[in-house]
C-alpha cells in the first residue's frame, strides 16, 4: 500500500500560560510540535506498515522551512519519505487554498491508496483541510475515525458522532481524518532519529514544483480573509452577590433566568 499522511507543524498551544496580571497569553518560547491529531494519523499509517512491510508511508507538510523538523520527527517515527511544500507564494492561504495546494502536490504522487489527515489542527482549529483535500482530489472521505481496519481494497472505519458511532465501509483510494481516540502514537527511536538525518531525506517542493493556478493560492486565492483578531474579552470581575442567604440565591437565579440560561 502507499499511504500519504498530511502533517502540520503547530505551536504547542496546550502549553497555555496566562499572565496573571493582564490575563493575556504568554507565547514566548512556545515550542513547535507536530499537530497532535496528525500524530495519530501517522501512527495509524505506521501500524498498517507494521502488518504489511510493503507499505510506503509518505509524509507531506506545507509550511515554512522550519517545518523540516516536524517532517524529520515523522521520519524518525518510521515514515519512509517526506515532502515539504514551501514557498512565500503559498503564505496567507486559507483552508480552501491550503487544500488546493496540498491536493495539487499529492496529484504528483502516483498510485496512492490512502490519505490520512488529522481531524483538526490545534492552531487554526477549523477541521476543514482534510475534507477539502478529498474534494479537490475527487475521492471519498470518512472523518472522525476512531478505528481503522484495512480489508483488501476497502477500509472499515469506525466513525465517531456525538453520541454514537458507525462502521463505515469505503473503497480506496480515500481520505480519512483521525481523532485522538484512534491510537497511542509511538515515540521516535534513537535509530530512527539517526536515519531521519542520514539515510532519509526531506524533499522540498517550491512554487515551481507544484502545478497550481497562481490566482488560487495565497491571500489572493483565498475566499476567506481574517478581518480582525482580538483577545477573547478578558472577563472583568462579574457581579459579587454578598451573603449566604436565600435572597442572594434568588437574585442569582433570576439573573440566570434573564440571560435565558435556565
Amino acid at each position: 500500500m502507499k499511504i500519504i499522511v498530511c502533517i502540520k507543524q503547530v505551536p504547542d498551544t496546550t502549553e497555555v500560560k496566562l499572565d496573571p496580571k493582564t490575563g493575556r497569553l504568554i507565547r514566548d518560547g512556545v515550542p513547535s510540535i507536530i499537530n497532535p491529531d496528525d500524530k495519530n494519523s501517522l501512527e495509524a499509517a505506521l501500524q498498517i506498515k507494521d502488518n504489511d512491510p510493503d507499505t510506503r508511508v509518505i509524509v507531506v507538510s506545507m509550511g515554512p522551512p522550519q517545518a523540516d523538523i516536524a517532517l524529520r520527527e515523522a521520519l524518525a517515527m518510521g515514515a519512509d519519505e517526506a515532502i515539504l511544500i514551501s514557498g512565500r507564494e503559498f503564505g496567507g492561504s486559507d483552508t480552501w487554498a491550503t487544500s488546493y495546494i496540498i491536493a495539487s502536490a499529492i496529484k504528483k504522487i502516483p498510485d496512492y491508496d490512502l490519505i490520512l489527515c488529522g481531524r483538526q489542527a490545534i492552531d487554526g482549529d477549523t477541521a476543514q483541510v482534510g475534507p477539502q483535500i478529498a474534494e479537490q482530489l475527487g475521492i471519498p472521505q470518512v472523518t472522525y475515525a476512531q478505528k481503522i481496519e484495512v480489508n483488501g481494497d476497502t477500509i472499515i472505519v469506525q466513525r465517531q458522532y456525538e453520541d454514537f458511532y458507525q462502521n463505515i465501509e469505503v473503497k480506496m483510494p480515500c481520505l480519512i481524518t483521525a481523532i485522538k481516540e484512534l491510537n497511542e502514537p509511538r515515540y521516535m527511536t534513537p535509530g530512527g532519529i539517526a536515519d531521519a538525518y542520514s539515510v532519509k531525506n526531506v524533499t522540498v517542493w517550491g512554487f515551481a514544483d507544484v502545478p497550481v493556478d497562481p490566482e488560487k493560492i495565497g491571500l489572493k486565492g483565498s475566499p476567506t480573509n481574517v478581518y480582525r483578531t482580538f483577545s477573547p474579552e478578558a472577563k472583568g470581575m462579574g457581579r459579587i452577590l454578598d451573603g449566604s442567604d436565600r435572597n442572594t440565591v434568588k437574585e442569582l437565579l433570576s439573573e440566570l433566568d434573564n440571560k435565558h440560561l435556565l
Binding site: P131, V226, F230, L241
Partner: protein, 394 residues
Amino acid sequence: MEIIKEKCRGCTLCAGACPFGAIVMVDGKATVTDACTNCGACESSCHFGAIVVDKAEESARDIKDYHGVWVFAEQRDGNVMSTTFELLGEGRLLADKLGVELCAVLLGYKTEGMASTLGAWGADKVIAVDNELLCNYTTDAYANVITKLVESRMPEIFLIGATTIGRDLAPRLSARLYTGLTADCTKLDIDEETHNLLQTRPAFGGNVMATIVTPNHRPQMATVRPGVMKKAPWNPAKKAVIEYVDIAIAKDDIRTRIVETVRELKQQVNLIEADIIVSGGRGVGSAEGFVLIEKLAEAFGGVVGASRAAVEAGYITADHQVGQTGKTVRPKIYVACGISGAIQHLAGMQNSGCIIAINKDADAPIFKVADYGIVGDLHKVIPILIDEIKMRVK
C-alpha cells in the same frame, strides 16, 4: 504582512501576540521572519499602526446575483436537530438585517412532518429533498444534492451547524463551490457598509478570537457552534412555504456504506458535552461533602466536575477532573464550589458560557473569572440553591 519601521516604537507587543514566534526585535524594531504565515494576529496588537497585513484584492466575481439566507436543517432519524432551531433564530436576525428571505434546506426521507415545523421556528421557506437515499447522512449524497441546490438558487449566506455531520459536509461543499467557509462560529453579524457577513470564531484553542469575511465569493458559508445562538420563540401561527425539489441520486455515487450504527451506553461522566457542570474543590471538605455537589448538579440537570485538589484528596474519582491535566470544558453554566481558581484549573473551564463561583474567601482568584460570585460557606449556600431550583421547577 509588513512592519513600517518608522512607526515602530519597539514596544514588543506584537512579538508577544504572534502565535508563530515570527516577530523578533532587531535593533529595537520589530522584524518579520520566515515563520510568518500572514495570519494577521499581530495587527490589532500594535498601538502605533506600524503593522500592515496584506488584504486580498477585489476580484471581478459577480456576487450581487446571490440572495437570501439559507440554513441547513440537520435531521437524524427523522428528528430535526435542536441546532437547526438555533441556526434559524440567528438566520432570522441576519435575514431581517439584509431584508431577504430565510430558507431552511431539509434533506431526508419522509420529511413532511419535519418540514412543517420549520416555519414556526422562523423559516420563510423550506426547500425539502425527500429520498430514501437521504434517510441517513452520507457525505456524497448530501454534498451532491446541496451543490445542485446552491448552484441553481444562489443564496448569499449558508449556515450549517458545527456538529460532527456539519463539519464533514460543509468543507466538502465549500471546496466544490470554491467559496469561503468559516469554522465553528460563535458570533455572526452583517457589516453595515459592505453587507458582508462578519463571522467571529475562536482559534488557537480559544485564546484568540478572529472575525473572518468572505468578500468576493458566494455563498458565505459558516459552521456555527451548537448551543451558542438563541432560538427564536416558537410561533405555531407562522407557516413556511414548503417546496419539494426532486433531485435524482444514483446509488453508485455514494462511495461509503454504513455497515452498522452503534449506540453506546451513555458514558458515566460526559463533561465535554455537558451544558451544566457543578464542580467541587478542596473547600468541599470530604467525600461525604461531595454528595451535596452531586445533588446540586442533579437539580441543575448537569454533571459533576472537580478540581485536582479534590481528586487528590480522594473526594471523587479522576475522571471528573477539570483543568490542564483533566478535561477542558465549555458548558453553558459552570458552578465552581470551594475552588480557589488556580491557573491550571482555569485553563480547563474559563471559556464556559457563565461561571458561578461559591467561595468563602472574597479574595479567591476564581472570582476574577466569575460572572456571578457568592461569597459564603458552600455548605450553607448550596442547600438553599437546591431548594430554590426545585421550587422553580414546581
